[in-house]
C-alpha cells in the first residue's frame, strides 16, 4: 500500500514533468513533439535518477556516521565531486564518460580529508566533528571551484557555473545513459550492505559484536556513496539537501531498516528532485532557476526543523 502510493506519486510527478514547461505543447502532440522527446523526457528521467542517487547516498551516510543530519552535501562529498568535475572541465578532460570519474575522484578525496579531520585521536569517528569537517571541506571546495570558474574563459565559465548550484538544463539522452551506467553497481553494493548499516547505527563496537565486519563495510559504503554522488554531480552539479530530507521523510513510512529504507529513499529522492525541477522550470518561466537553489530553499527550513527535533 505504502509502496503503491509512492509508485503512484512517482508516476504523477514524472507525467507532470513531461506535460508542464515554458513551451506549450498540445495534448495531441505530446508523443511526437521533439521538445518532449529530446528535452522533457530525458530531463525528467535524469532528475529522477540523480535525486534517487543522492537520497540513497544520504541514507547510507547517515547510518555510517550515526548522524541523522548527514548528507553528501553537508559531508563535503558533493563539494569534492564538484571540484573534481570543474578541474576536469578546466583541464579539457571533460568527455561525458570521464566527467563522472573525475567527480568520483573528487568525492573520494573529500571523503578522505573529512574522515581524517573527523578522527579524534585514534578513536572512532566522532559523528559531530565529522559533520563540521564536512561543512568546512565543502566550503573550501566551493571556494576553489568559484576561483577556478572566475579565472577561466567565458565559455567554460558558463558551463562550469552550472556545477556550483546544480542544474538539469544540460539533460540529454546521453547524460541519462551516463548516469544509468554508473548507478547500478554502487546501488547494489549499498543494498547488500543494508543489514550492516542497520547494525552500524548502534556504534562500531556493538556492530562488531552483532557480526558486522566494520572496517570493510565502512570502506565499501564510503566508496559506493562517493560513486553515487560523483555520478549525480557529474551530470547535474552540486544539489544539496535531497540526501538529507528524503531519508527522514521515508523513515516515517518505512522505518529505520535499510533494506526497506534504501529503495524507498531512491524513489522518494527521485520524486523530490523531479518536483523541484518542475518548480525550477515553471516558477520564473521563461527563465529558469538552478534546481539546487530550489532544493536549498525547501531544504534549509526543513533542516532547521529537523535540527530542533533531534536536539531537544
Amino acid at each position: 500500500m505504502k509502496a503503491l502510493a509512492l509508485g503512484g506519486l512517482a508516476a504523477l510527478v514524472l507525467a507532470l514533468a513531461v506535460i508542464l514547461g515554458p513551451t506549450h505543447v498540445a495534448w495531441a502532440d505530446l508523443s511526437t513533439s521533439p521538445v518532449v522527446r529530446d528535452l522533457r523526457v530525458p530531463r525528467a528521467l535524469l532528475a529522477f535518477l540523480v535525486g534517487g542517487a543522492l537520497a540513497v547516498s544520504g541514507a547510507s551516510l547517515q547510518a555510517l556516521v550515526r548522524n541523522p543530519l548527514a548528507d553528501p552535501f553537508l559531508l563535503g562529498l558533493s563539494g569534492g565531486a564538484g571540484l573534481g568535475a570543474v578541474l576536469a572541465i578546466a583541464g579539457h578532460l571533460s568527455g561525458p564518460g570521464a566527467l563522472p570519474l573525475a567527480a568520483f575522484a573528487g568525492a573520494l578525496a573529500a571523503t578522505a580529508l573529512v574522515s581524517r579531520l573527523g578522527l579524534v585521536a585514534d578513536a572512532e569517528l566522532d559523528p559531530r566533528v565529522l559533520l563540521l569537517a564536512g561543512v568546512a571541506v565543502g566550503a573550501f571546495a566551493g571556494a576553489v571551484m568559484t576561483a577556478i570558474v572566475s579565472l577561466s574563459d567565458a565559455v567554460e565559465l558558463r558551463n562550469a557555473f552550472l556545477w556550483l548550484w546544480g542544474g538539469l538544463s544540460g539533460a540529454s539522452w546521453l547524460t541519462v545513459l551516463v548516469i544509468a551506467v554508473y548507478l547500478p553497481l554502487p546501488l547494489i553494493v549499498l543494498y547488500a550492505s543494508a543489514r550492516s548499516l542497520d547494525l552500524l547505527a548502534l556504534g562500531e563496537e556493538p556492530a562488531r559484536h552483532l557480526g558486522a565486519e566494520v572496517t570493510p563495510v565502512k570502506r565499501r559504503v564510503y566508496l559506493a556513496a562517493s560513486a553515487l554522488t560523483g555520478a549525480a554531480v557529474a551530470v547535474s552539479g552540486v544539489i544539496g539537501f535531497v540526501g538529507l530530507i528524503v531519508p527522514h521523510l521515508m523513515r516515517f513510512g518505512w522505518g529505520h531498516r535499510h533494506r526497506a529504507l534504501l529503495p524507498a529513499s531512491f524513489v522518494g529522492g527521485g520524486i523530490l528532485l523531479v518536483a523541484a525541477d518542475i518548480l525550477a522550470r515553471v516558477a520564473v518561466a521563461p527563465r529558469e532557476l538552478p534546481v539546487g537553489i530550489v532544493t536549498a530553499l525547501v531544504g534549509v527550513p526543513l533542516f532547521a526543523l529537523l535540527l530542533r527535533r533531534w536536539t531537544t
Binding site: D198, A201, L202, H209, G255, R257
Partner: protein, 262 residues
C-alpha cells in the same frame, strides 16, 4: 568455551601493559564476574577475549580457535555481548532492535523468517520484556532498556554471554532483577556468562568464579570466598574494608577512615 591464558596486551604507544599475565576460563553453566577499580583493564580484557584486540603474548581462544581469527558473523552466532554503551541516533521499536540479534543468522538476500521472529519473541519473554515489544526504544526506562539489550544478545542464541557493566545506572530493584535474570539464564540454559561489574557484593553473591584485576594484573581468581579476602580487597581497591559472611558468601563493607578504625 572462552579462554584466556597468560594474556599480555599493551595499547600502541602506552607506557605500561594494559593486561599482564591474565587468565580466564569461562565454562558452560558458570557465571564469571570480573572485578577491579576503574582503569584496571576489565574492558580491555573483554576486547582481547572477543577478538577485537590481538594479545601481544599468551592466548585468547573461543571454542578452541584464536579469538581474533573468528569472522565476526560466525562469532556472533555463539557469543552474545551487551556492551557498555550503544548509540540511539535513529528511533526504533523494541522488537526491531531485538531482531538485530538475528542478523548473524540471516543470509545475504533473504529476509527474516518465522524462526527468527519466534527467536525474538522467546528472547523477549525470557527477559520479562514481552510487553515492551511495540514500544519505542527512547521511551524505555534504564532497567527496561537493559533487559531489551539482553534480549537482543539472547536472540543471537549464543552459548557465551558477555555483559559489560550492565547495571551501571540502575536502581537497586532493577539491578537485582538483572542479576537474577542472568543467574537464571546461566542455570537453566547452561550458558557461560562473563560479567564486568563494580558491585563487589553482588558479584560475590551471584558469581561462581571471580577474577579480581588491579592495574592489568590478576590480584585473585577463584570462588568468591577464595578471592575476596580483606587483604586482597584493600590492596586492589585502596580503601580499608571489612569482610563479613552472608549466605556463606563474602560481603565487603567499606570502612570510614576515622569512625570505624582505631
Amino acid at each position: 568455551m572462552l579462554t584466556l591464558a597468560d594474556v599480555r596486551y599493551r595499547y600502541p604507544g602506552a607506557a605500561r601493559d594494559a593486561l599482564h599475565g591474565v587468565s580466564l576460563d569461562a565454562r558452560p553453566g558458570e557465571l564469571h564476574a570480573i572485578l577491579g577499580p576503574n582503569g584496571s583493564g576489565k574492558t580491555t580484557l573483554l576486547r582481547v577475549a572477543l577478538g577485537l584486540l590481538r594479545p601481544d603474548a599468551g592466548r585468547a581462544r573461543i571454542a578452541g580457535r584464536p579469538a581474533h581469527l573468528w569472522p565476526r558473523r560466525e562469532l556472533a552466532k555463539i557469543v552474545g555481548v551487551v556492551p557498555q554503551r550503544e548509540e540511539t541516533a535513529f528511533p526504533q521499536r523494541v522488537r526491531e532492535s531485538v531482531l538485530l540479534g538475528r542478523y548473524p543468522h540471516l543470509s545475504l538476500w533473504r529476509g527474516e523468517g518465522a524462526a527468527d521472529r519466534a527467536a525474538v519473541t522467546s528472547a523477549l519473554e525470557r527477559c520479562d520484556a514481552a510487553d515492551l515489544a511495540d514500544r519505542w526504544i527512547a521511551t524505555l526506562s534504564g532497567g527496561e532498556y537493559q533487559r531489551v539489550r539482553l534480549a537482543r544478545a539472547l536472540a543471537q542464541e549464543p552459548s557465551v554471554l558477555v555483559l559489560d557493566e550492565p547495571t551501571a545506572s540502575l536502581d537497586l530493584r532493577h539491578e537485582m532483577d538483572l542479576f537474577e535474570l542472568v543467574r537464571d539464564l546461566v542455570d537453566r540454559e547452561n550458558l557461560s556468562a562473563i560479567l564486568i561489574t563494580h558491585h563487589v557484593n553482588l558479584a560475590a553473591r551471584f558469581a561462581d568464579r571471580v577474577l579480581l584485576l588491579a592495574a592489568g594484573r590478576p590480584a585473585g581468581a577463584g570462588t568468591p570466598a577464595e578471592v575476596l579476602s580483606r587483604d586482597a580487597a584493600e590492596r586492589v581497591f585502596e580503601w580499608p574494608v571489612e569482610i563479613q559472611q552472608f549466605d556463606a558468601r563474602p560481603q565487603m563493607v567499606p570502612l570510614r577512615k576515622r569512625k570505624d578504625r582505631p
